[in-house]
């Protein structure tokens, strides 16, 4: 889905899922449970709420820790993944999911100072 990767993908958490249905988003969360088929798994955000992530192909690797998922929000609030990154826990500074959530809230509370849309279309 080349088109999805060209548009701006706002970073969101679970409470913002409903406002982004049908849109491309970027979701960072901690992997909770992986479905035995490997085609879907649940993630929790910095507020502790959970969301479901679906993949096109089943997982080929062990998934744990914090992941960054880029995909689209379906009408049922499920993220259909285009691509994902694992933020490795054994490298660099440990990721602070709660702090990330605070930053997320700031970005959404003051959109006038974070004009990501403009930057993407530019």
């Amino acid at each position: 889905m080349a088109s999805l990767l060209d548009t701006s993908k706002p970073r969101i958490n679970c409470s913002m899922l409903s406002q982004h249905i049908g849109r491309g988003v970027c979701f960072v969360g901690r992997v909770e449970k992986v479905h035995p088929t490997g085609k879907t798994f649940s993630v929790s955000d910095g507020e502790g709420k959970s969301a479901t992530v679906e993949l096109n192909e089943p997982l080929e690797e062990e998934l744990s820790g914090i992941v960054e998922v880029i995909g689209m929000v379906s009408s049922k609030g499920v993220i259909t993944t285009t691509t994902y990154n694992i933020l490795r826990e054994d490298k660099g500074i440990p990721f602070d999911l709660e702090l990330y959530n605070e930053a997320l809230k700031v970005i959404h509370d003051f959109p006038q100072y974070y004009p990501f849309e403009v930057a993407a279309s530019g």
Partner: protein, 601 residues
């Protein structure tokens, strides 16, 4: 049409108390004060009579100068006092007045008032006050005042009532001025200094000073020589006294935060008598400055502050230049501005201070200094109050228990060796310029997050004395020997040391800084000796070190000071410390600042 309070003029002229009278200002005239502040003489009308013997108290001069008080305006006379001149005439001093209808909204004179003359109506005449009053008898005084207190209740005294006994009235401190000498005030001593002696070519003498306060204001009082002997042991701080017949003169505002245009000197005629009934006299008069505002005040200013003591350090002992040992203690004070300042206590106050349970601390007359940015010191003339019984203290307590206790607060005082969160003086590079950091007498220190945008690799290394503790530049004797002037020795070698000139920048501004050995090595990622070697042997590799170091972001702790070389003044910034950015801490701080900014909108 606004109704005036008819009968007020008559009442005032008879010495009967009035409160909240609606009067029309007929005329206002400026009297040249000579050396002192101007005085404004006012004529007021109550619709029935006019009276021209009103004087505006000097603290209200601005109302006249700004034309708030102008002919025809309608006013509410809230507080005043009546003084009796030597010839028996009355002067009404206006202490507090509100303009309820400005002059431009009033068509003209209301009613047809005629000038009031004594004896015009049947009001009770006051007995003219005798010229030479004997010193006050404590007995009369107390009875009289207890009677008065019953009448007043706890209302703010708007008028000093006339006592049938004929003994002198008590006037408010705010009404004291050099033009009237026969007055008595009732005030509490908030601060008494120790006896100071001096000896110079003109002779020697001694003095003491104190600050006194009543419901209307405060004033500084000084006694010299004989008055020291007469009064010093009699006076106790915290107690209330009747004081009369001191001399008033213009105040020297440099050494005190007392709010009064005048100050008082005790003389041979002055009397001071203890007052038994003192519950109405306030404990202290303070004009608190918000801690957040302290940055805007000049260093060495004397201010009153109040805040919650967030934390207190242990007592330390220092030896002064005169070899005296003195105790010292620092505490951090926070108020509703969210800012924290370090306060230093000395001597007995330091020893007695109990900072447990985070008390509300108020300091009157604290000295502001630019040490570490901004900090406060309780000097010998400051008054320290713990959990004072004043409304500001209750407000602070309520705020702190609800929100304040959870805040880290941003400190105005930089603590040596401390970084992160509470005690660092974080600034952006544009802040440094707009706040003119470094322009004072002492250097300023600040911490910032900035990116290196330029490194000067030319002349960044110099040859220094190889001795352990000496870093002086050595002179190349050209014979294989290097001479150090400081050590007065010659050496066959030297050590390379770094002085790196760099330009650092953030989103708002940039700053040229000088980095010495440690910080330069941290930035370049190599030690001076190795760099020296590279410079001499492999210039390409040497250049690459600088390329590599460019555009890295660090947390810089810098020192700025205005330096003057041959008539030219320039700000010099030195890097004291360089650290990698702690992104977590940085994010947290930014989020906190954003939220604070949003909340204050």
């Amino acid at each position: 049409m606004t109704k005036l309070s008819e009968g007020t003029i008559e009442a005032l002229s008879n010495g009967t108390g009035v409160s909240d009278a609606v009067l029309q200002l007929v005329n206002i005239r400026k009297l040249d004060g000579g050396n002192g502040p101007s005085r404004f003489r006012v004529m007021m009308s109550d619709g029935r009579h006019t009276l021209s013997s009103f004087m505006l108290s000097t603290q209200l001069n601005h109302m006249a100068e700004e034309n708030i008080l102008a002919p025809n305006c309608i006013c509410n006379l809230k507080r005043h006092v009546t003084n009796i001149l030597k010839d028996g005439r009355r002067v009404v001093i206006i202490l507090e007045i509100d303009v309820i209808k400005p002059a431009k909204d009033v068509a003209g004179r209301i009613g047809d008032p005629t000038p009031y003359t004594e004896g015009q109506s049947k009001g009770p005449q006051s007995a003219p006050v005798p010229e030479n009053r004997p010193p006050l008898q404590p007995q009369n005084r107390n009875e009289v005042n207890r009677g008065l207190n019953r009448d007043f209740g706890k209302k703010a005294p708007s008028v000093m009532p006339n006592t049938p006994g004929g003994s002198s009235k008590v006037v408010p401190i705010a009404s004291l001025n050099p033009y009237q000498s026969k007055w008595t005030i009732r005030a509490r001593v908030t601060n008494k200094s120790s006896i100071r002696t001096w000896s110079n070519s003109r002779g020697d003498g001694k003095l003491f000073s104190m600050e006194i306060v009543d419901e209307s204001g405060e004033i500084r009082v000084t006694g010299f020589n004989q008055e020291v002997d007469k009064f010093y042991s009699l006076i106790e701080a915290g107690k209330v006294y009747y004081i009369s017949k001191g001399s008033l003169k213009l105040a020297n505002k440099q050494y005190t935060s007392v709010k009064n245009d005048y100050e008082m000197t005790l003389n041979g005629e002055s009397t001071i008598i203890p007052c038994e009934d003192s519950c109405d006299v306030p404990m202290v008069q303070c004009d608190f400055v918000s801690i957040g505002d302290l940055e805007n005040r000049d260093k060495d200013a004397i201010v009153d502050v109040i805040g919650v003591c967030k934390s207190v350090d242990d007592i330390s002992r220092l030896t002064t230049k005169s070899n005296r040992e003195v105790s010292k203690r620092t505490l951090s004070l926070m108020d509703m501005s969210g800012k924290v300042v370090t306060v230093t206590l000395w001597g007995e106050e330091a020893e007695k201070f109990d900072g447990s349970s985070q008390p509300v601390v108020a300091i009157k007359g604290a000295k502001l200094s630019d040490f570490g940015g901004r900090s406060l010191s309780a000097s010998f003339s400051s008054t320290l109050m713990i959990n004072p019984d004043i409304p500001e203290a209750y407000k602070l307590r309520g705020w702190y228990d609800k929100e304040g206790h959870a805040m880290d607060g941003q400190s105005l005082t930089e603590v040596k060796g401390g970084s992160g969160g509470g005690n660092t003086n974080w600034k952006s590079l544009s802040d440094v310029k707009t706040e003119h950091l470094g322009h004072g007498d002492k250097a300023d220190y600040y911490t910032c997050v900035a990116t290196i945008v330029f490194l000067r690799k030319e002349n960044c290394l110099y040859q220094a004395c190889p001795s352990q503790d000496c870093n002086k530049k050595v002179v190349d004797q050209q014979n294989g020997m290097f001479r150090c002037e400081k050590c007065d020795k010659e050496f066959p070698n030297f050590k390379y040391r770094l002085i790196l000139s760099a330009n650092i920048a953030d989103y708002g501004d940039n700053q040229w800084v000088t980095c010495f050995q440690e910080s330069a090595e941290a930035i370049l990622g190599q030690n001076a000796a190795y760099l020296g070697q590279l410079k001499d042997s492999n210039e390409a590799a040497f250049d690459e070190v600088f390329q590599h170091a460019n555009f890295n972001t660090f947390v810089f702790r810098n020192r700025v000071k205005l330096e003057t070389y041959n008539d030219e003044s320039r700000i010099k910034a030195t890097v004291m410390d360089v650290k990698p950015v702690d992104h977590k801490e940085y994010s947290k701080r930014l989020i906190l600042n954003i939220r604070k900014l949003a909340a204050n909108h």
